[in-house]
């Protein structure tokens, strides 16, 4: 399958006191929705902050759309093409909605006031029909603030959305809407628009995820198209008497007094022959948990 990238990262390194981000090579595919998955503290936000340019103290090379480097991020052209939402105070707490609109217009040539209003109403950012222009960001709930940021990002013509934990503060209905919005964005781009988002809500986002990157302890533990991962990893269930033998073969295993369940790499499946096991296609959630477990310091 041909794989164009929207961002290519090479030799990205960032050292903290007790943590080291080390990514020799990473391609985020163009025209798809990519999920960044990993434990708390795995380095997801650090990576996103490096890609967005929020954090500038790192080593390594970044290539955007095969045209720009990280040096171009402040030059208008690249900035205009990227939309970002995050957990921090992207909009300052004391800003009013009117100020956000004005500031966005100043910051981005392609910010369209009408579209901002449309999105605010489509996402029901405000309880009434009208936009409450005098309302301050600090008066909004976390979920509403996220909706407002999404409206701000979608009011612009961009080619790439970098979303740090967009689903976390949202309710189930709005998460569903977020998935639709991502699909519409990808469809509208016809192969040119991409979305890269970090998430803990893997199950909620699975149906919109084309490519998954699983990070653990500052490194990329697994990356691939979800359909390929579902062929590489298989969900196995078996009986108690095979626990010990299966434990040596499976990638990850959970046992109970009644049997076991685990993930097996497809190329090791032959070694399970003779055991009474059932084989299922795992969900992205199940694959992610298995990969995370293998690389985690949490004792399960």
């Amino acid at each position: 399958m041909e794989l164009d990238f929207c961002i290519r990262a090479e030799g990205i390194k960032k050292k903290f006191k007790n943590f080291r981000l080390d990514i020799p090579q990473l391609d985020i595919p163009k025209g798809y929705a990519t999920a960044l998955i990993g434990e708390n503290g795995a380095g997801k936000t650090t990576l996103l902050n490096i890609l967005t340019g929020i954090r500038l103290d790192y080593e390594g090379k970044l290539d955007y759309f095969g045209t720009y480097t990280d040096k171009d991020r402040e030059s208008g052209k690249l900035k205009e093409q990227i939309g970002y939402t995050g957990p921090g105070n992207y909009y300052l707490p004391h800003w009013t909605i009117r100020q956000i609109e004005k500031i966005s217009e100043l910051l981005f040539d392609n910010f369209q006031k009408e579209r901002f209003k449309q999105w605010c109403s489509e996402l029901a950012v405000f309880s009434g029909e009208e936009i409450e222009w005098k309302k301050k960001v600090r008066e909004l709930s976390d979920g509403t603030r996220m909706k407002l940021m999404l409206a701000g990002v979608l009011a612009r013509d961009t080619k790439l959305l970098l979303l740090d934990e967009p689903a976390s503060p949202l309710d189930p209905l709005m998460r569903d809407k977020l998935c639709s919005m991502i699909r519409d964005y990808i469809l509208d781009g016809n192969g040119e628009k991409s979305v890269f988002f970090s998430t803990h809500n893997i199950s909620d986002m699975e149906n919109v995820t084309d490519y998954a990157i699983i990070m653990e302890r500052g490194k990329i533990a697994e990356a691939g198209f979800v359909e390929d991962l579902k062929e590489k990893y298989l969900l196995i269930k078996g009986e108690r008497e095979d626990i010990e033998a299966a434990g040596k073969i499976l990638y990850s295993i959970t046992t109970s007094p009644y049997g076991f369940e685990g993930i097996c790499l497809a190329d090791r499946m032959e070694q399970l022959s003779g055991m009474n096991v059932s084989v299922e296609v795992p969900s992205l959630f199940q694959i992610s948990v298995a990969v995370m477990k293998e690389n985690s310091r949490i004792q399960m």
């Binding site: 399958m1 025209g31 798809y32 929705a33 998935c179 639709s180 699909r183 519409d184 990808i186 469809l187 016809n190 192969g191 699975e206 149906n207 919109v208 995820t209 084309d210 490519y211 198209f225 979800v226 359909e227 579902k230 299922e280 296609v281």
Partner: protein
């Protein structure tokens, strides 16, 4: 098209099966394009890569051809070609059976006997 989330059949397989049925029944004519992968993903509320995999399977079966920049175009479905495709499947399956038979140490005669027995059972 109905997509079942927990049927045990992979979603891409369900999509491929559905389009295969429609192509073979003539609902899609030669030269017609399947819906674009991204619009199908949007409409079925699934990921793009899943629809892509479904179409790639149809392409591997020779039912459609990927046209650069335009999508997936339905091929002529003449019976000769379909027969050819099914023939290939039969050969693959038989080859697998032959390999298993060798592992099990079956003689050629025993293998042929097994095939005859199975054919008889199927016929009854």
């Amino acid at each position: 098209m109905k997509i079942l989330q927990n049927s045990g059949i992979p979603i891409y397989q369900q999509i491929a099966d559905s389009f295969r049925g429609e192509i073979l029944s003539g609902k899609y004519q030669q030269g017609e394009y399947l819906p674009s992968i991204r619009s199908l993903a949007r409409d079925l509320r699934i990921s793009v890569i899943t629809t892509m995999k479904a179409y790639e399977q149809l392409e591997a079966e020779g039912l459609v051809t990927a046209v650069q920049g335009k999508g997936f175009c339905v091929n002529a479905q003449d019976s000769e070609m379909l027969r050819e495709q099914h023939m290939r499947k039969v050969e693959d399956a038989l080859m697998e059976a032959i390999q298993s038979a060798q592992i099990a140490g079956l003689t050629e005669q025993e293998l042929e006997q097994t095939l005859h027995t199975l054919l008889q059972m199927k016929g009854e």
